[in-house]
């Protein structure tokens, strides 16, 4: 099963785009992140939902003491006003330079192994400078369940 058959085509994040727009793309396409294309049209990083939450809502102390938190912690939660402000911010401040790209002809098993190796749940499929989509564990699982893995 080659990953070109199971990757999910998405938009890319571009300089100046609002966080809300980028996040909405991830939500709609059900992917944990999308690539970031710089002003020169080259992939130069990634936007990740997980890292967005890590950066803006869950500092390390809360992660460290998560098991100690009771139910009465409303003041730590997302007030709507903060969520609105956050979504209006530019995506550029939330881009990570490290990302992994795979050739469309890679086998799914190799993609899964690379995900394990790098402790990630998604990878970008590119051919040269052409971005084709995101392959996730779930997209591979979907292909297995729907027998799409036998497409070749």
């Amino acid at each position: 099963m080659k990953i070109k058959h199971i990757s999910i085509p998405t938009k890319v994040a571009r300089p100046g785009m609002q966080l809300g727009e980028v996040l909405m793309e991830c939500v709609e396409k059900r992917v944990p992140g999308i690539p970031y294309m710089n002003a020169e049209g080259k992939l130069s990083g990634r936007f990740s939902v997980r890292h967005l939450f890590l950066l803006c809502c869950i500092p390390e102390d809360i992660i460290h003491g998560a098991h100690l938190l009771g139910d009465d912690i409303e003041h730590l939660d997302f007030p709507h006003i903060i969520a609105d402000e956050l979504m209006a911010q530019k995506v550029d401040d939330f881009v990570f330079a490290d990302f992994i790209q795979l050739s469309p002809n890679f086998q799914a098993i190799k993609a899964l192994a690379i995900m394990e190796q790098y402790n990630t749940s998604y990878l970008f499929v590119t051919e040269g400078d052409n971005y084709q989509g995101v392959v996730t564990r779930l997209s591979i699982a979907r292909a297995v369940v729907t027998k799409a893995c036998c497409v070749e």
Binding site: P59, D61, G70
Partner: protein, 436 residues
Amino acid sequence: MDNLTPEMWTSAAVLVTAYGLIFSEVLHRTSAAIFGAVAMIGIGMWMGFYTQEAAILAVDANTILLLAAMMMLVALLRPTGAFDFAAVHITHWAKGNPKLLLIYLSLAVSVISTILDNVTTVIVFAPLTVLICRLLKINPMPYLMAEAMLSNIGGAATLVGDPPNLMIGSAGDISFNSFLVHMGFPVLVVWIGTVGLMLYLFRDQLTDGGKDPKTLVATHAIKDAEGLKRILFSLAIVVVLFFIHHTLHFLPAYASFIGLTLALLLMRPDMEKLFSSVNWSVLFFFAGLFMIVGGVESSGLLELLGHQLAKLATDPSKLLMTCLVLMWVAAILSAVVDNIPFTVTMIPIILGLEGSGVNIAPLWWALALGVGLGGNGTHIGATANIIAVSELEKSGMPEAKVTPLQWMRTGMPVMFFGLLLASVFYLLFFELFTTI
């Protein structure tokens, strides 16, 4: 100066180069210490003043092994959730009172630091403290600064509370009990005085009454109750052995290894994981320093320096002044540079004085007090301070960030006030410090 031989000059040059690399942070301190040790041995062999065997013998195995054993015991204790449990209960006892919370948290960190490494204690308590403050909607800065500074002070009270104490105790053959008797009282005085001073210095930040943090629950704090019982039992054995190690003719390292062995038998941990929790970098840093200073000692330079100091210290009327000068110089140097290299260098000098008929006991205590209290002056004076600053930065709260200057504004008064209290105590009870 006429007595200085080429070997002395050379060994001093290697020491100064290695220490320069350590303090300037051009190289990681462990790399710099290893480089210094290798250079000292090589040059020493070539010039004939140092040998590989002498370098190995210069390493204080008691200190290194004791540290390794305690690191492993802490690594076994940490995942059980004991620290989380303590932090939650301390918060509940404080009932949201910011001043009480500062006192209780600092007391807990200080008491734990008398037995366990204070750096580990602060590493564990720092994120918990930030979380508690976040839930109480108060600034964590005073709490983390107090924890770091008071744990530095607390660690100075015992033989095992601070690596310099370990080195001093090992070199001077000082027992755990003797350390506690001689250092415990002045440290207690300094600790109480420092808490009072911090409550005053942070009076503006400690006025907001936080709410009772029922938002923290201890239900899931303990992750391994059975493991906790076993490691606490092993630690209790270690503490008991520390109190009687001199009577049993046990080295502190052996006492700690008895407790570690017990813990290994009772807990059957994953040894690969356990050994990866040992901070080998610190241990090799210490070993490298011991080898560097061993080379300087072999060259005869430290003996020469000792003779110069002996002229002062043999005069009983000047001994007290020499001790006080040593305490203050050690403290001021410890505020700006790592206190370990200074301690390692001073140890053979003090030991050398014994041969000149000087009572070196008061010098040991003065050195221990100086290096123990000096670290509070600046944010780089002690590792615990660096951890506190880093944790405050990670909290993401703008009001919690501490600049080096802000640290000094609190740290310098704390350091000088502590030194002043320790000096007065030392002066009043000088007789106590003339014995080991």
